[in-house]
């Protein structure tokens, strides 16, 4: 740090010439994104040691800066290589549940279908509520040395708020209401996590993965154009959360391969405790029945709906294992709990 050259005018100016390199990031095709400013000594690749303050990566350390309590000191603890891109994508793709859903296309549905849709919305508004709290819980531990991961989590908090509100809106917009609270949805496992990677693999990869597989069947589940749009828009957001989780897991396994067994342990617990359902558990009886009714097209077509429900489970499980394989945890296939393994396609 430069000496303190108090000037004639009484200025200190010790902050003025602390660095000599000049940085001029140029906007790219998508404007000036985090990618364009990830350069030189400011890049994530130039990350130095953290210091338990909120000093942004590349800023000059302040002598005498107070600590703020523990946060993650190792990049691998929170990092995903795609978080810069995912952050910018999130800012570009924010949507409004108030105005981007064609609420005026809602039409009265047969009572059993409306009730089934409202039950599903009740469960989803509950699940999405927790999905905002969970990243919130971890934000204070994400060092500003890895601020892009933190920024991404803040977009996720916003996304989950929107999902919480859009499913509540759906339940209250078409002559229905909220129905039965979920129970045993496996949501406690998310908030119980005591490590960022544990949280991420359980929430981003497993729970949001299951929810994403369901949203992608929204064309079959949704009864109106508004319902289908809700699932499509929400799926778009979930894809980002899922992509962060997969790439975080990959980063951990690539850089700290000794954590493999530890991560299996978290999954053993989550898959076992939820008896194969995991968070976003669609086997909770009211949700299971609601889905069978929606997928079948009515109570009288419940068995037809059940067959589609089993297809949904098959899709959820196979996509889950595929994502783990992409992240480098392909050996999970051999350890999958029986309630999941029954749906697994041959490798």
């Amino acid at each position: 740090m430069a000496a303190n050259p108090t000037t004639e005018s009484g200025l200190d100016l010790s902050w003025l010439d602390l660095y000599e390199d000049a940085t001029s990031a140029e906007p790219g095709k998508k404007g000036l994104t985090l990618k364009e400013i990830n350069l030189g000594r400011y890049a994530d690749s130039a990350r130095g040691a953290g210091d338990m303050t909120y000093r942004m990566r590349g800023a000059i350390p302040r002598p005498g800066a107070q600590r703020f309590g523990p946060n993650y000191q190792s990049k691998a603890d929170v990092w995903a290589e795609n978080c810069l891109m995912l952050y910018e994508e999130a800012t570009q793709r924010q949507w409004s549940s108030a105005r981007d859903i064609p609420w005026d296309t809602l039409e009265p549905l047969p009572d059993e279908l409306e009730r089934a849709m409202c039950q599903l919305a009740t469960m989803l508004t509950e699940v999405e509520f927790i999905a905002g709290d969970v990243p919130g819980q971890w934000m204070p531990f994400v060092s500003a040395q890895d601020f892009e991961a933190g920024l991404f989590l803040m977009t996720q908090i916003m996304d989950e708020a929107r999902h919480t509100d859009v499913f509540r809106k759906r339940a209250l917009a078409n002559g229905g209401g909220l129905l039965a609270q979920g129970a045993g949805l496996g949501l406690r496992t998310l908030i119980e996590a005591r490590d960022f990677t544990e949280m991420s693999v359980l929430m981003h990869v497993q729970a949001e993965g299951f929810v994403q597989s369901m949203f992608r069947m929204g064309e079959l589940i949704g009864q109106t154009e508004a319902d289908k749009r809700i699932f499509r828009m929400s799926a778009q957001d979930e894809s980002r959360h899922l992509a962060f989780g997969v790439m975080h897991l990959k980063y951990v396994l690539d850089t700290e391969p000794e954590r493999r067994e530890e991560i299996h342990h978290y999954l053993d617990k989550a898959e076992g405790d939820a008896a194969g359902g995991g968070s976003g558990d669609v086997t909770f009886p009211p949700v299971f029945e609601a889905l069978c009714i929606l997928l079948g097209g009515g109570v009288d077509k419940f068995d037809e709906g059940l067959q589609k429900f089993l297809l949904l489970r098959k899709r959820q499980i196979n996509e889950y294992v595929h994502r783990l394989t992409v992240a480098g945890l392909g050996d999970r296939r051999q350890r999958l709990g029986p309630l999941m393994a029954q749906f697994l396609d041959p490798a």
Partner: protein, 406 residues
């Protein structure tokens, strides 16, 4: 061959591992040993058996079914008739805003209770399950957190969203004199860190707030998202015009916010910051060096205004509901003002602003005069904001008073 052996063979043939959870549940429901294996041998999938167990099918009924009778999974459907308010058809009151969360505040769904008693993540207005785990929330009292304005502000925040990458004209930047560019960069470094820190701080409080105050949590989520954008936008500006990041921000004010032991304390401390920053950014035209910075400060000020509106109304509401806590607030304001005063006199905070206000180091006397004016305006507006919240702060902390005059 005994029946047991036959069943064991049948189970083997299916090559399905039966989870312990399923066996435990079956025992709890009075299923005879071997019944799950029998169901599997008859071609029923483990998933269907699991659904029957989760639906509470008892041993007798399961046996009857396997002997060829009833449906495996009873159509319970009791959730269809739980006693929640039914027949709700929310409609947009303002078509330009669309279907807002304010439009959902109808019937019992609009009741925000003074005290929320459910410890689970139940959606307010849904039918409670009697046996659920405690999710660990700690804030159940409306008076501590609530402000009616959070309902419209949530939707306004979404409507007013902006994107730093594309809503700011980065191509308009032109080289500035060295002292001005460095002053801009130092200011950006400080503000980027403050925004990131405050976003992380608010985030950490989200899991403390129970579902009774859902709309507040939704609004806080927009604050967190705004702060993420501020942090990256300030960083981008620092790195876009021949400068760089300077000295990290002073830590005194941020530490006092981090030290808050309760939500009201946190909110009181951030009231001070958010009021001061709103005034600062709303005066951004005075120290902006170009069009991009003017736009950036305008966007930030608009976001900060929502935060400030929340603080004012929350404080007013709390003081109305909990008048015995009025004097206590002075303790938090005093701490916050003191630390802010300390930050304000830090050369890396005051000098960049004075240089920008004056138009360069050469005009530092004019810059200092303008900074004193700006600081006084921040203090005056802060006291006015407190008055809007029905709080009369008779004496601000001496350190802040001195810092404003420095």
């Amino acid at each position: 061959m005994s029946t047991g052996e036959a069943l064991a063979r049948a189970a083997q043939a299916t090559q399905v591992e039966i989870p312990q959870e399923a066996r435990d549940k079956a025992r709890e429901l009075g299923w005879e040993d071997g019944l799950i294996e029998l169901a599997l041998s008859k071609g029923h999938s483990l998933q269907v058996i699991w659904q029957a167990l989760r639906a509470g099918v008892d041993g007798e009924r399961a046996k009857e079914f396997l002997q060829g009778g009833q449906a495996a999974i009873p159509r319970d459907l009791s959730w269809m008739n739980v006693p929640t308010e039914w027949g709700i058809r929310a409609r947009p009151k303002d078509p330009a805003m669309g279907l807002t969360i304010a439009d959902l505040m109808i019937g019992t769904y609009g009741d925000v209770p003074d005290v929320w008693t459910n410890r689970s993540e139940i959606a307010r207005g849904s039918y409670p399950n009697p046996i659920v785990e405690d999710m660990g929330y700690t804030i159940f009292e409306k008076a501590l957190v609530w402000a009616d304005c959070c309902v419209p502000l949530y939707e306004e925040a979404i409507r007013d969203r902006w994107v730093s990458a594309t809503d700011l004209n980065w191509n308009s930047l032109e080289p500035l004199p060295h002292d001005l560019e460095r002053a801009v960069c130092q200011f950006m470094t400080e503000q980027s860190e403050r925004a990131y820190f405050t976003g992380a701080l608010w985030s950490g409080w989200l899991p403390e707030i129970s579902y009774g105050f859902l709309e507040l949590k939704l609004f806080l989520s927009t604050i967190i998202y705004d702060l993420a954008r501020h942090s990256e936008a300030f960083r981008k500006r620092a790195l876009a015009n021949g400068g760089g990041l300077g000295l990290q921000a002073p830590t005194d004010f941020s530490r006092v916010a981090k030290e808050a032991r309760s939500f009201p304390e946190l909110a009181a401390i951030l009231f001070v910051q958010d009021s001061m920053l709103y005034t600062l950014f709303s005066q951004g035209d005075r120290f902006a060096q170009n069009e991009l910075e003017r736009d950036l400060y305008r966007f930030v000020a608009r976001d900060r205004k929502r935060m400030l509106d929340y603080h004012i109304e929350r404080m007013k509401h709390m003081l109305f509901k909990l008048p015995d806590r009025r004097d206590e607030q002075n303790l938090y304001f005093n701490k916050a003002e003191s630390r802010m005063g300390k930050d304000w006199v830090d050369p890396a905070v005051s000098e960049p602003l004075a240089i920008l206000l004056g138009g360069g180091v050469a005009n530092i006397d004019e810059g200092r005069r303008q900074l004193r004016e700006l600081r006084q305006l921040q203090v005056d507006n802060y006291l006015a904001d407190l008055r809007k919240a029905t709080f009369e702060r008779k004496h601000i902390n001496g350190r802040l008073e001195q810092a404003a005059r420095a």
